[in-house]
Symmetry: C2
DNA sequence: CGTCGAATTGACCGCGATCAAGGAAGGTGG
DNA sequence: CCACCTTCCTTGATCGCGGTCAATTCGACG
């Protein structure tokens, strides 16, 4: 296998600085698979045999308990997921399912741990990546505990707007019921919450969101870099 | 400074395997301070100048937004906190205050990053520690989103019971209003929640909790290793 | 004994869950 | 091309959990 086999994967922060030789070694043992939508890739509690990398499509991380289910995150290319379970050789804490047709690279966790021991650059990148993941979950916990659901939705909309380029009109990237689950509410309540944001200039039609009055919305949402910025 | 200066710190997983030389180097630049209760050690948003290690006492991590505040975690000896911010050289996401008289070791974040680059064992330990932190926050998010407050309290009680040795009688280690904040509810509601657990054999007097019927409580709480176990 | 903060209790109310029904959109098959 | 079905979204009605406000009790401490 040549080093050009997974150029997109190589560009990930996690892999970009490691020695060619070690990257090759990881990729040699890797599988690539295409999955249809709605396939459960990972079931929580299972041993973490593979580090997953999504190259195309989208994946939802979710968890269940006592017949209830909640969405934890949506993963888009190019990203790894369940890195922590892989490196700790511990059971998955979350399940994962494809939302669309998706292309996934699977690297045996054992290989990740071996290369980690040999490549200092990879180890460094791993620490940065894990610290990033940790901080993301902390932010989402703050979002959940400090904000009402209306405030959460307002900030979610502002974050999506930024992702979409910042224009006044943009498309929600996932189904509303999944947005509801991410924000910890029911679909019914999400509908009402969208209406509740109309006084602040938010209008929704299908998946299209229009922000008529950016300043009003920001004034209500009070976005905060320590909760809403992805990179700090 | 001799290597026996911080024997307790040396026993932490994070430091136990690193080279003496590097540990010494970290400790040479470290400060030790005793703080009275209710001192704000860290303010969220500030640059992360120090990795903190609690040697005695207890510390609460909390966050604020829009005049609201919530407890995120309680830290007890011997543990590090805010490792992720230190290693990423990013602003603190949470504030920290002492709950009791506490003894804290402060290691300049710059030193942590330097030693990390030189000591592979330390880097490995760091990854394990961060993965552990990440998984803890994920578990607490599952707890928050999948359980009612009564179920959360029931499981919190069971976890505390385990920490306390497993007996039918034990003491809550922190004030009730802090328990309430950790569980995302008000003190008033916590009082009612305790009463709501009486049918399952839970009785509270001051800080003393008595579990009259362990099986009833477990049947209601449905504890799950993927949410409630600290080590998996 | 007096004081202050914490905990409890009660009354009230609003947010969000639940249940049920009605539309809208997309896919399938005749 | 259209009838039909499924799935998602929306809307309405109702209900209960949990938040808020206020008053009281409890407990630690000086």
């Amino acid at each position: 296998m040549s080093e050009t086999l997974y150029p997109e994967v190589r560009t990930l922060h996690l892999f970009s600085k490691m020695a060619d030789e070690h990257f090759e070694s990881l990729m040699r043992g890797a599988y690539v698979q295409n999955f249809p939508p709605q396939i459960e890739l990972i079931t929580e509690g299972d041993p973490s045999d593979f580090l997953h990398i999504i190259v195309a499509g989208s994946v939802e991380l979710f968890s269940t308990w006592n017949r209830r289910e909640t969405a934890m995150a949506t993963i888009r290319p190019i990203s790894t997921f369940i890195l922590a379970a892989s490196i700790k050789d511990a059971p998955y804490l979350m399940s994962a399912r494809t939302l669309e047709k998706s292309r996934i690279v699977l690297i045996p966790s054992q290989d990740v741990r071996s290369v980690f021991d040999e490549d200092a650059d990879f180890a460094r990148a791993m620490v940065t990546e894990l610290a990033q993941c940790y901080r993301s979950v902390v932010k989402s916990t703050k979002d959940l505990k400090l904000r009402t659901s209306l405030e959460q939705l307002a900030n979610y909309i502002l974050r999506q707007q930024t992702c979409a380029g910042g224009g006044a009109k943009f498309e929600l990237p996932i189904e509303k019921r999944r947005v509801a689950s991410l924000l910890g509410m029911t679909p019914e309540n999400l509908s009402r919450a969208f209406k509740g944001l109309q006084p602040y200039g938010v209008y929704v039609n299908g998946n299209q969101v229009t922000i008529k009055n950016q300043n009003d919305l920001i004034g209500f949402a009070k976005p905060n870099p320590l909760i809403d910025d992805f990179n700090t």
